[in-house]
């Protein structure tokens, strides 16, 4: 049983009078505990596909089912609710809140999901311990290394136990050694907690931790 199913997804953007196709009939499935790498050259549509399966953008055509729920492209106002319940993101630039400590960054994401107070604190402690930052909970992002920041971002994605984890170039801002450590940890946690993990990447190291590798070129999976 898949936690994410995309069928014949197409996406076009308007550029002035022209319609530019970015995705042309892409289909993919993600299963619990599965790690999938999505590779492709710049401009191939990787990030657009990630945005659509992450319920940030709606497809022009095609169907999307997330965690058993059909996502209606005509109701974009419902997308935040799907993201809140089912998806955890890790970004290339970490995108941590600079004014919040590691623990607060995670707790804030939980607050957005509707989890507050003691329950949020316990969950934040759990995921920060899981990524090996139990002793850095009260550090601000500016006082952490790139690897530590990305671990906080991973912890934030894991918090609240969303069934789908989406990562956009998670190693792009890390050196090779640290990048590998983060990937290994991310994979282990995803598998341990039975989450589906889709990683959009240029980094060949990602292949080594993936169960499947998808390649996208000119808006099609090849």
């Amino acid at each position: 049983m898949s936690v994410l199913e995309a069928r014949d997804i197409t996406k076009t953007f308007r550029e002035g009078a022209e319609t530019v196709p970015v995705l042309n009939g892409v289909s993919l499935e993600l299963h619990p505990g599965e790690v999938v790498a999505l590779e492709g050259p710049s401009g191939s549509g990787k990030t657009t596909l990630l945005s659509i399966v992450g319920c940030i953008l709606t497809p022009t055509n095609g169907s999307l089912t997330v965690n058993g729920n059909h996502v209606d492209p005509k109701r974009p106002e419902r997308l935040p609710e799907v993201r809140k319940k089912s998806i955890g993101f890790v970004f290339q630039q970490f995108n941590l809140f600079p004014a919040l400590t590691a623990a607060e960054n995670v707790e804030y994401a939980l607050n957005v999901k509707g989890i507050r107070g003691r329950e949020a604190q316990k969950e934040a402690d759990r995921v920060l311990d899981a990524v090996g930052l139990g002793d850095r909970k009260n550090f601000l992002p500016r006082d952490m290394s790139g690897g530590q920041k990305q671990r906080v971002a991973v912890a934030r994605a894991l918090a609240g136990r969303p069934p789908i984890l989406l990562a956009d170039e998670p190693t792009a801002n890390l050196d090779s050694h640290v990048g590998m450590q983060v990937l290994e940890m991310f994979k282990d946690l995803a598998k341990k907690e039975d989450r589906a993990l889709l990683i959009v990447t240029h980094d060949p190291k990602v292949r080594t931790i993936s169960d499947r590798v998808l390649k996208i070129e000119d808006g099609r999976l090849v």
């Binding site: 990030t47 990630l50 945005s51 992450g54 940030i56 953008l57 935040p80 609710e81 993201r83 809140k84 319940k85 998806i87 993101f89 970004f91 290339q92 630039q93 995108n95 809140f97 600079p98 004014a99 919040l100 607060e104 707790e107 804030y108 994401a109 607050n111 957005v112 999901k113 507050r116 107070g117 949020a120 934030r156 956009d168 792009a172």
Partner: protein, 375 residues
């Protein structure tokens, strides 16, 4: 407890927060000082009315305020005294006169004249024996006259309308809106000093209503017996006097414009800093959206930041205004800040900052959460 991203973001950039707070604070101070000084001046306009124990004031027809009195026959006081419910009534002359100073200069002085000052609590704060005024060419002068007339001592002599008179007492807090110093002189002596204008004439009749009598009924009866005069209650007369200065002189409009400018400065400062802050945190707001937050969640952040800025700015601005009070008092400027006005400015400041934050709302509504994927 939820993580307070709004507060933490706001306090994270302390310099920006300081600038925002000071912008609001200066706007608040400006409003307090302008309106407070205006209220202080207005209090001067009615301070005599409010301290005197008269319940009703009989004035000549259409007298615009207490300072601009016109005379009418003093014998009318007998008609007033005959009205049932009147406990006592007395003539009161208010006139401007020339006073010659030791320097050789001449200035104007505003003189209140009665036969029985003590019966009417006029003046209300003084040194000396007010009863002595009727015993010779004497007068009392308010301490505030020092600024216009120079220093003076009890026992000094001055010339009023070319008549040498001795200062036998010093009053305090007796001031007028016109800033002309106030003096107190016996009623009969004043008429003798200026017979052409004041013989057998008075400026006002002040009335004390008997205990248990209905002021409105007494007023109605006086009006029916004196159709060519006006009869005001104490409150009405004070309101009319204040209203004259506010409406007829343009001072009210001046104050409204100043308050408007103060609010405008506040709105511009807050709107500018919040908008710049929003632009700088655009990616963070994109992240909030990406992790499932709605526009509403971000509006709440901006709204909370606006309220925090408003409250901090109000506190600093109020402290600055109150801190300036003693300094202004030294210059005889009274800053009056009533509690209701404090509440109005507090609410106004919050509304002003929330309105300013709305400039950023449009930007937030247009944030594409996909921007979180851009390097």
């Amino acid at each position: 407890m939820a993580v307070d991203l709004a507060r933490k973001n706001l306090l994270h950039d302390k310099l920006r927060f300081f600038i925002t707070v000071m912008g609001v604070a200066f706007a608040v101070t400006l409003v307090f000082v302008q309106v407070g000084l205006f209220l202080g001046l207005l209090r001067n306009a009615t301070t005599v009315i409010e301290h005197m124990s008269a319940d009703l004031w009989v004035t000549s027809k259409n007298t615009p305020n207490v300072d601009f009195a016109h005379t009418f026959p003093e014998s009318y006081v007998q008609r007033v005294k005959s009205v049932p419910g009147v406990e006592k009534a007395e003539n009161l002359i208010l006139t401007f006169a020339q006073i010659s100073l030791p320097t050789g200069a001449q200035e104007s002085v505003q003189i209140y004249c009665m036969k029985n000052f003590t019966d009417w609590n006029l003046p209300w704060n003084y040194e000396g024996n007010i009863e002595d005024l009727r015993r010779g060419p004497y007068f009392m002068l308010d301490s505030s006259a020092v600024k216009r007339f120079g220093t003076f001592q009890v026992g000094d002599y001055r010339e009023i309308i070319d008549n040498r008179m001795q200062i036998i007492g010093r009053t305090k807090e007796a001031v007028s809106f016109t800033t002309t110093p106030l003096a107190f002189l016996d009623y009969d002596r004043m008429q003798a000093l200026s017979p052409a204008l004041l013989r057998n004439r008075t400026s006002y009749i002040v009335v004390k209503v008997a205990p248990g009598a209905d002021i409105e009924t007494v007023r109605r009866e006086i009006r029916s017996r004196m159709p060519y005069n006006d009869v005001w209650t104490k409150q009405e007369w004070a309101d009319r006097s204040r209203s004259y200065w506010v409406v007829n002189t343009g001072l009210g409009l001046n104050m409204v414009l100043t308050v408007f400018l103060g609010v405008l400065v506040g709105v511009v400062v807050v709107a500018q800093t919040l908008y710049t802050s929003t632009m700088e945190h655009l990616k963070e707001f994109g992240t909030v959206k990406a992790i499932g937050g709605s526009n509403g969640d971000i509006y709440k952040i901006l709204g909370e930041q606006a309220v925090i800025s408003a409250l901090a700015g109000f506190a600093v601005g109020t402290a600055m205004a109150f801190g300036m009070r003693p300094l202004m008092a030294k210059a005889d400027l009274h800053l009056i800040i009533p509690q209701q006005f404090l509440a109005i400015v507090l609410i106004g400041t919050v509304v002003m900052c929330l309105a300013a934050s709305m400039l950023s709302f449009k930007k937030i509504a247009g944030i594409d959460p996909a921007l979180v994927f851009r390097a």
